[in-house]
Symmetry: none
Subunit: 203 residues, 4 copies
DNA sequence: TATGAATGAGTGTTCATTCAT
DNA sequence: CATGAATGAACACTCATTCAT
């Protein structure tokens, strides 16, 4: 009983800190976001953060992991749709809807964390790598499935096709973010799939 | 005369420091690259760097600017080719060849610097923005030209098409970098343009 | 009745914490032994320690006091032996046996705490001082008694003789500790007294 | 030329910091002496200390080493005296004179560092150990020499005799320090040797 | 009264920048 | 100007202590 309350309280604190860290990292970047900022944003004392996370890197890695898990959960949906490309389109819509709702930065970390210099930190590199590779693997699997269905051309390597599709998604998120995150991101999923399939050539 | 020599000497120092900074930032990232590292790499004393650049941010911004200028110069080539898409393909090849020769990181900073936390630094943000926007503008102009030539479909916004094309480039550079920068990047230019134009659909 | 039980319980807790603190301080030293370590060693929560001791310094001082009391109690023994030096020898044996049984570190704190930097802490200084001075006083009293019995030379100040005897004891404990606390410490009592009395000169 | 000046300046800074650290550690103990205190005592900025020493432990170890070297140099004196015990007495006088002149704490660290909790720090442990063992070895060698000269009794182990002699010295320094470092320490060297040789027994 | 999480002052250390030579 | 050492503000992290439950 007592333990249950404790447990719940701990979970609430942890979540509050993670959410605060997500906002703070998003606003200031990894290095400029101080632990004190995160704690203040979460409404706790600086030391409290260390009751839940070993250090700054672990806070960051935990955000990544949480984001990855959420996004992957979303991308497990629509499993009943047989057509791999149509399934991908639906999943993309859901993912974009999620991003639009939860703020870009979070999504960028999850999917685009790639180039930032916190990647240099060994501690988070693994987390990022795993997150990234999971996305690559899923996309490549989908592409392979679509190829074997005869839906996609075979004269371009599966790896390249997957990279291209992911690149289209990234670019869409990126320019949407640059534009100030206007409503309507989910609709871009259709554009991406359409462009990926038919190309930009005039008919 | 004396002044000319002095001027030359200053330029040589400046260039040596920039080149050293480029390697160092590329290797370590913005925050982990210390001014002392850069100075050592350049073979000068730490204080000397401050005779040529106001501060660390300015060193970084100068690298970006230099990179942008080089890349834009490359992308001014092939002006004699009338077909906008073919012109784009050739410029892409040249740009990729340049990247392959000069190290990715540099190219990433130039083109993809987007999400890293040094972007949060006001001092470099403008530089990055200008660099990025210049690329966007050129691409959009090219797309518009191709649309007006009847080469591209009109049912997708020019902005989206441009974002998509840049996304394909980014993705290509990114996955090439992940793969350890194997030779053969320029050839990918063809794949990008082909995929952008025809799409991935099986014929 | 209820109070008696409660009182007993308090005493048991207090003793458990002191014993745990003794082991922990002995193993890690004053600064590196954290209150959490002590609490964990005692099997209680961190806060509980503060129900029995005002702060860390008081825990430490209490160990010293407890140790002093135990050692002094031991050194109250053999009161029936008239010969002061023989009495000293017997008490030394008993003290050494106690040390061998209870771990050196504890004994060092009690007797030798002298040079460690927790002595700088005002809070424990008094305790240490009292402990130390009590030992000095007793030794000097014994020396005086032996001098007045005509057992000891009079051309060396009583204070010096006492310091020397205590120094021999310390050195013995110290080198025994360095050697890894091998069994046989009590037997050294004889060597000390013999050397103190006759000197090292060849006969 | 320029380098020579530089070198001299560096040596002066290093020495000033070491001297300041010696005073500060002596006054406050290892843990309570803050790097800022040491820097302030030396009249430099906090960061400057780190231009000369890797960290706090290294500052401390350097003091030990410097002290050891000085004391050992002193104890190399009087090599021309054939009688080992007389030689020891002279060296003891010189050492005590040095201690009286330079402050006890320094001497204690050098000779007695033994039980303090900075010994727990691996980084300084070696230094302390070496310092201590050097003293032990020299003393044992001297004892052996004296034994082979027929000057000392053979019924007590050389190790024990050496420990005893060192214990007498420690005790003398210790109680002298307790007494507030009154002038006259060197004269105690005679008392020590006399007591060590002849014992405390009334004639 | 036991608990164990929250607190926040305190500190070793780093490093961009300055400046005397 | 080049140099390289001095500077000191900044910050992640620790842990003795407090306090709500």
């Amino acid at each position: 009983m007592r333990d249950a309350v404790r447990e719940e309280s701990r979970a609430a604190y942890r979540e509050a800190i993670l959410a605060a860290a997500e906002r703070t990292f998003g606003r200031l970047g990894f290095h400029d976001a101080k632990m004190a900022d995160i704690a203040a944003e979460a409404g706790v004392a600086a030391g409290t953060v260390y009751n839940y996370f070993k250090n700054k890197d672990e806070v960051f890695a935990s955000i990544l992991q949480r984001g990855q898990e959420r996004v992957l959960a979303i991308q497990d949906g629509h499993a009943e749709v047989a057509d791999p490309l149509e399934r991908t389109r639906l999943r993309l819509r859901d993912t974009f809807a999620f991003l639009e709702e939860h703020g870009v930065l979070f999504g960028m970390f999850v999917r685009l964390g790639g180039f930032t210099d916190f990647l240099q930190k060994r501690a988070v590199e693994d987390q990022c790598d795993r997150s990234y590779m999971e996305g690559v693997n899923r996309t490549q699997a989908m592409i392979r499935e679509a190829v074997s269905c005869g839906q996609l051309r075979v004269d371009i390597a599966v790896e390249d096709l997957a990279a291209m599709l992911m690149g289209l998604c990234d670019a869409t998120i990126f320019s949407w973010s640059r534009a100030g995150c206007p409503p309507g991101l989910p609709a871009k999923a259709d554009t991406i799939v359409e462009l990926f399939l038919r190309g930009a050539h005039a008919p």
